[in-house]
């Protein structure tokens, strides 16, 4: 669905250099801190910015030429003009999208209590987030590109949105999603693959199964750390009790060092360790 190879973009001192692939039927997450390059990567894929190098293929075409009927997009900071109401832009969507599902749109708007006659600029951030998702999933898109779709939502609304995405995926097994979020718990139960981006570089790319099964955080005293076989350690961080270290071979350490404390890998821990931890 998306194949971005070695895309390059320079903004002053910031340099994006990354490769991302989103296969058919897959939910891929792009996670990273604010300013890590998530939105820049999304904009490059969507042809909102011109890249300085690399190659992007989306739905088998270039970002300039791909069929926009087949994608649904949520951008973290952009929507229809705030002066329009939902009722105003319904005929716009109906006219632009060949497969626009008006009834589904209205039913979802009602479900999420989105007023049809209120200007978007007067919507709360949560209402805007829901509206963006509804727009993205109501024209039978094959691919969703969602930049921070749950930003500004409370826990209940976030779960509702995630359920909408699961339903969207279950309707057609070839559909794909590229999603970014800084709320890692959203992604843990949703994604198949995960890219961790930091300073414009991909630090980690794993399937979520591997991440949750094989990655772990080892809590070590200085003595335990000294005795440890370090060949499967990725990052370390100095702690008051000694060291926290990230490994991608949890089983190895669980079997060979039963006395050490092992915490299962979470996306947050991986981000923190990969981004801020010391390399070994």
């Amino acid at each position: 669905m998306i194949k971005a190879e070695n895309i390059q973009k320079n903004y002053g001192s910031f340099h994006l250099s990354c490769s991302i692939q989103v296969p058919s039927g897959c939910i891929c997450a792009l996670v990273g801190q604010n300013g890590a390059g998530k939105s820049t990567a999304f904009k490059a894929i969507l042809n909102l910015i011109q890249i300085d190098g690399g190659k992007i293929e989306i739905l088998g075409k270039t970002p300039q030429d791909f069929d926009r009927q087949r994608i649904g997009v949520v951008l973290s900071d952009s929507l229809f003009s705030g002066y329009l109401t939902t009722r105003d832009f319904l005929p716009v969507l109906n006219s632009l999208y060949t497969h626009f599902e008006k009834e589904k749109f209205l039913q979802m708007a009602e479900q999420f209590q989105l007023p049809l006659n209120k200007k978007i600029k007067d919507f709360s951030s949560g209402m805007k987030a829901k509206l963006k998702i509804i727009i993205a999933i109501t024209h039978q898109a094959d691919l969703l590109i969602l930049d921070e779709p749950t930003a500004g939502l409370d826990v209940i609304a976030r779960n509702e949105v995630l359920d909408m995405l699961r339903t969207y995926m279950s309707e057609n097994e070839r559909r794909s999603i590229l999603i970014s979020s800084h709320i890692s718990s959203d992604l843990e139960n949703l994604c198949d693959e995960l890219y961790l981006i930091e300073n414009g570089q991909i630090l980690l790319h794993e399937t979520c199964d591997v991440l949750f099964n094989d990655y772990a955080l080892l809590k070590l005293t200085p003595a335990q750390y000294e005795q440890l076989d370090k060949q499967y350690l990725l990052r370390k961080r100095k702690e008051s009790f000694g060291y926290s270290v990230l490994t991608n071979q949890r089983q190895f350490y669980a079997e060979n060092y039963p006395e050490i404390v092992i915490e299962k890998g979470t996306i947050d821990e991986c981000i923190a360790m990969m981004a801020k931890g010391e390399t070994l």
Binding site: L46, V73, Y97
Partner: protein, 215 residues
């Protein structure tokens, strides 16, 4: 393009109260001012041109442009639609203004010939199109805030150039004679040529700006 035209129409309709007030004022002026009945036509057509341009600012409000460009439209289509929308709404308002003025003149048994009104009205329409072609690329390139400043500079330069040109014409007996002998037909033909040329150049520039613009 239909979707974009609907969007712009909805944005334009936000100012419907303003338009209605303008229409009432214009109706009143056309009833009372017998000296220049075509003023209403040029005024309304110009106001509409300015308002159609404002849809570019509305699109950009709260960073709306990136989202628009993820919809099934191309950058080229976005730019082209601004011209189509501007010309369509301009022509529609122009048409109703002409009807209004003609009706007032007809019922007030004025001495002004309808054909004269129509000729002046056509020239007004073409001039408003030329203004449209001047503003659209500036607005697309610079947005609302900087666009105003650039537009101000362009207007000042245009006025200065017109002044220099008219001074030259005033000094040159030959040119004055040629202009005095011109009838309506060549003036209209020159204007049609200018409008077509203006459209071609302006739309090329706008499309180029859109295709290079980064969001």
């Amino acid at each position: 393009m239909k979707g974009l035209i609907i969007k712009d129409f909805k944005l334009l309709m936000m100012n419907k109260t303003f338009f209605l007030i303008m229409l009432v004022i214009c109706g009143f002026i056309s009833l009372t001012d017998e000296n220049d009945p075509t003023f209403i036509i040029s005024f309304m057509t110009f106001i509409t041109a300015v308002f159609t341009i404002s849809t570019i600012s509305y699109d950009d409000f709260n960073n709306g442009m990136p989202f628009l460009l993820t919809l099934p439209i191309t950058r080229k289509l976005y730019a082209a639609e601004k011209y189509v929308f501007g010309m369509l709404t301009g022509a529609a308002v122009w048409f109703f203004s002409v009807l209004l003025v003609s009706a007032v003149q007809l019922f007030s048994f004025s001495n002004v010939q309808l054909i004269d009104i129509l000729c002046t009205a056509v020239i007004n329409l073409f001039i408003s199109y030329l203004i449209l072609y001047l503003i659209i690329p500036i607005q697309i390139k610079y947005g609302n805030e900087r666009g105003r400043l650039v537009l101000f500079l362009v207007v000042v330069i245009t006025i200065a150039m017109s002044y220099v040109l008219s001074s030259l014409i005033a000094e040159s007996v030959n040119i004055r004679n040629i202009l005095n002998e011109l009838t309506m037909t060549p003036i209209l033909l020159i204007l049609i040529g200018l409008v077509l040329l203006g459209y071609y150049i302006s739309s090329r520039i706008s499309i180029h700006i859109m295709e290079k613009k980064q969001y």
